[in-house]
Symmetry: C3
Subunit: 488 residues, 3 copies
């Protein structure tokens, strides 16, 4: 259905369709996500089995099955070597592991896993995950079946057949998906070898890295000390104090920028930003190097580094992103066995008005800086984020994140922020996915939500047609491109 | 109107009606509520005057009149002996008093009270209380009048006439209401004599108790010490330390289970759960016995007992319920004169991600355990509750509670939780009422909300007809029955 | 369009129009706002240029332009002498400066400013500010153009022409706007000379003052000490301790009341109310006089004065208003250069259940007292405010404030509070504006929202026509008049 998901009110429905049609063919801007660059480094990269492609990398899917008592082992998730550090709620995500090994060998037969997913497909009714996979099967793979235990094998066979064809290789899909630019997310210590391979290959797809320094910035992150050594190695700067540490980070940012990066990204439990004095920063960093930093040290250091990163962005013009409010690895049994990013991250309340003031006081008006904010507490939308973005020149609001990357989540976001911030203080859309074949449907849902929302504004007389058509284009394409400086 | 309350969009309206019709005649599952079991113990139980039945037990009604300056005395509420303890915000509810004395003698003429209610009936416009009473008069009592000062006497007369008839006795209504199972809420120290009388009577209605240990668990609750003595008496276990206390609780749980209970329920100001060491628990319990426990002791002890109750449930398989976030007895003048449950309980913010971790770390994956969560802070729906329920196998989300047991409250609940948790991590509906004749309309409103909400999903193309019809049945009937293990 | 903004569902749309039509001509009750009384003191008051009238006093407009990198200087905002005190998040607003100097000389040509606004008018798409100015141009000035860079000059010329005419003087507009009563907001130390001039002029428009004691109550407010001296002067009471301070406040309240005031208003960062002992209040006041009060002193003193003001209101029957939750002057660069009220106030989380208890315990049931609550944290609507207002006789909920004075903000408010509090615990509408010509459109939007919302309730069968027509009248007119005791 061309008008799927739109309001059933006939006037709004037809207005939404006209708006949607005006942007449906615009290229996709993907300025933030977690697709593995290896997919594109080798022109013959094979996506593996249907389960390798669609289930194992997608914690949206397996966490729902887990919630109904199906173990991750049954779903083909491979146990990882145990971590020594217990989860603390601070970001423990090790960016070196982002995406895991997509082709990990698992003891469970993939066809059996697929059957288990199909048998339980009712769990995904009325969820974005369910909608994405349905749209993906139909539009990417040409499979127009509703999954169930009876057709599980037939769908599996059909998917295997598709994946064996050259036109389903990642690069071919990239072109078919009509992606204009795709940013990956990469550890500060990453050598970007896959990005280099892409460049060297002469292929024209624009795949760019994003500088994600969490593993070297959050001093309580698992493996922080080892990552600092790695940072010394890759930067060629011997990190022995805060000054050399900052220099190494600046060096890596310059390298990422030379490789096409236009943005950085930081994750933190809270948005707390605090400017330390040089000697405080130096002292905490010294304690961290010796493994003696306290939890309070870690929170303050992260807060200081948010401001430091803003300072660096004001100098090198990399767009700054902040993702806050996820209590990572909430389930210790899952973390111990499988590691991070296993669908066990749970949101907490966020606060920006007070927390972000330390950063805004110094850089809130800086002409070079763009700061894109993301969080998982919808109560901040109307109370804090829209008023902040409707005042501070550097701020842009990222699209609804994670659990809120959904029809109703996006609708609430627009309802809550546009009246105060307008749409021109938004950052457009990003899919933020590690599930590569879901990219087109995620953008499609966003474009449909915006079309339906603007159609509602239009038929009620808040805006006119000129407004509506310009706004849908901005939301679907222009704002993301401009915010992330991808038009250079 | 068969399609009352549904969207005025014709497509959604007719889809909603079809969905509603498919479940309208399913029997009612009532797994949590506060109806007094005495109503059913005697086959000839008389409900008293219309005011005894409809006004005096219903704090939803009299708190609204009170908010407009009408005193509780004018409404027939009887003053109670003063409590020695001042309200603290902790749960002071004494489960022995649940429901009060339904036939209390009041100095105010009941017809006068009824007239006062009718004169002020406009206050209930657009409120669930107003809708329930209207539906109840029409569908239970066959009175199709809109209350006002002119028809107050006529309606009173008609109600009196109905109540004099055998077909309006509680057992007859139970059958007419098509109730499959009704759980009451009973203090841990309750002898369940009325439940025993129901069993002994040979009547086939399934009325089961629920184990509510608040009065012996919250060491700062009014009368806690006396309740411990009572617990010793009824269990036959001399409680002199924490170990004997735990044994007595286990004994009572076994007794409740033998009387048909399938669930427990705890109320707490917050969801804070903390595992104490045995010696800590012992020490706090010892201080409590001597009347020397501090407020902090009380909070920690309640937190520990949440985990203890989870442990017991993992052993005896009673479903665990938690109701958190009500600041009880907020109005000291009302509490001093009338006691608890007088419409003066006010919600506070809740938090689950951090608070519940102590329990989830230990029992979050236990195959025997089901934990149903309720609270009064809607911001937790999308931010914490749906993500938690969409991950942890033991969790189910209770339906919108109290102030949110309303058309818009339920709609927001579905909007906020289903995209993340699906519907199969929900606990279906429970009416949670002490207003017995309101049970059918409360279930009817829930079934209508769900039908309308699913119809919206259907006409927009998120789900198909097969999904919608299976989902409405699950929400209306199956989920409550399964969650509360009433299909055994 | 007569039915603009209403639901596009035909049934709801026509019901909304009928409801709206029934109240569209009712006079406007304006019980809270910031219009400068000078506008009415002189029958020949000139409103200045279009920019003086429409842009410079309206921080809703210039903060949005500022958020997109347009400086306040470019927009004609005049820098003010620097304040000695840094912003603290406490209310620093100096009520003596409310509204600033409407005709301040600016170095930027006003026509240039107007062009800048028109060029950037797309920023206001789908915002209430955009809707208000459009409606205002059409309905107040008869200009039916959509602003853009091409018609900027033509609109400016047309506005200049209108403003030169006698029928666009403030008093003439007051009559055309059909205002029944307009309350201004005035410092406790204000001599009310403009109000006196209005009375002396014999003009019949009802313009009344409101007692706003923030600058003498918040001991950490900029200039507090000087304001105490001023309070001594205007009251003729030598303030040297807490007792004389209270006496001076009572004296000023009596004066305001003699000048027609029916209400007071206080702003605070939080709703925290704490009754101090006399000696504590005396001690803090003494420290404040010596400039030695701490931040904690300030918070406790403000909390105590909330209760003191409630006590005074219980004696003199002035309606009490509280506005909480705005972190004032969040941007130190803007505050340093331009002072307060420059669009840089950002909301924070609010809490009422615990914070307000100290006041409610003492005055929650007082028959003389009405307390109207406003705040900027929508999460409190359903969780705290509606339950509190649905219980305590003194409470009324003010309409959605500031960022939430918008179509969706008002709709969410009604959705969130009416089911629990009904509509008769609401205070109706107030425009709270310093943008005088926007008053009619603000009331019009409220009346349209209420009509559309009630039409939704009507077509779904929650209420009937009798209910709907009585409720729209109450919301549009009666509740504001009754709450603010303007019917005396």
């Amino acid at each position: 259905m061309r008008n799927r998901y739109f309001s059933s009110d006939p006037a709004q429905n037809s207005a939404a369709l006209a708006l949607y049609d005006s942007v449906a063919d615009l290229r996709l801007i993907c300025p933030h996500g977690h697709v593995d660059p290896r997919l594109f480094a080798d022109s013959n990269y094979q996506c593996g089995s249907p389960v390798d492609l669609l289930i194992i990398p997608d914690h949206y899917i397996f966490r729902m099955l887990y919630s109904q008592g199906i173990s991750l082992d049954e779903l083909g998730i491979v146990a990882k070597p145990p971590s020594k550090s217990p989860p603390t709620g601070q970001c423990l995500r090790d960016p070196n592991e982002l995406g895991g090994d997509l082709n990990a060998v698992t003891a469970v037969d993939h066809r059996e896993i697929w059957r288990k997913v199909c048998e339980n497909w009712h769990l995904f009714r009325a969820t974005p995950t369910g909608i994405w996979l349905r749209d993906e099967l139909a539009n990417v793979f040409g499979i127009h079946l509703k999954l169930n235990s009876r057709n599980a094998d037939a769908v599996y066979d059909a998917l295997e057949e598709r994946l064996s064809r050259a036109e389903f290789r990642p690069r071919a899909l990239f072109e078919r998906f009509n992606i204009e630019a795709l940013a990956t997310t990469d550890a500060a210590t990453d050598t970007l070898e896959h990005h280099q391979a892409i460049r060297d290959s002469g292929w024209g797809g624009r795949i760019i890295p994003t500088f994600r320094p969490d593993a070297v910035v959050n001093i309580d992150a698992a493996g922080w000390r080892a990552n600092i050594d790695l940072l010394s190695d890759v930067s060629g700067i011997d990190i022995h104090d805060f000054a050399t540490y900052v220099r190494a980070l600046e060096d890596r940012r310059a390298f990422f920028k030379s490789m096409g990066a236009t943005a950085t990204d930081q994750a933190a439990l809270t948005a707390y930003a605090e400017l330390l004095t040089n000697s405080e920063a130096e002292a905490i960093f010294g304690r961290a190097l010796k493994g003696e930093a306290s939890a309070k040290d870690a929170a303050r250091f992260t807060g200081h580094m948010l401001i430091e990163m803003a300072r660096m962005s004001s100098e090198d013009c990399l767009v700054m992103q902040m993702h806050v409010g996820s209590y990572r690895n909430h389930n210790p049994a899952v973390f111990a066995r499988f590691g991070p990013d296993m669908g066990a991250d749970i949101p907490i309340r966020s606060e920006f008005t007070k927390n972000l003031k330390g950063l805004l006081d110094r850089f809130g008006l800086h002409p070079n800086l763009t700061l894109v904010l993301f969080n998982l507490d919808e109560t901040t939308y109307s109370r804090e984020l829209a008023p902040l973005a409707g005042h501070y020149p550097i701020l842009r609001l990222g699209p609804p994140w994670w659990f809120f990357d959904s029809w109703l989540g996006m609708t609430r976001f627009l309802d809550d922020v546009v009246e105060t911030a307008g749409i021109y203080n938004l950052a457009g859309f990003n899919d933020d996915t590690r599930a590569y074949p879901s990219i087109p449907t995620r953008h499609d849902v966003w474009r449909r939500v915006c079309a339906d929302w603007l159609a509602g504004q239009l038929v009620r007389g808040f805006i006119d047609e000129e407004d509506a058509f310009e706004m849908i284009r901005a939301l679907a394409y222009d704002l993301a491109k401009q915010t992330y400086r991808l038009d250079d």
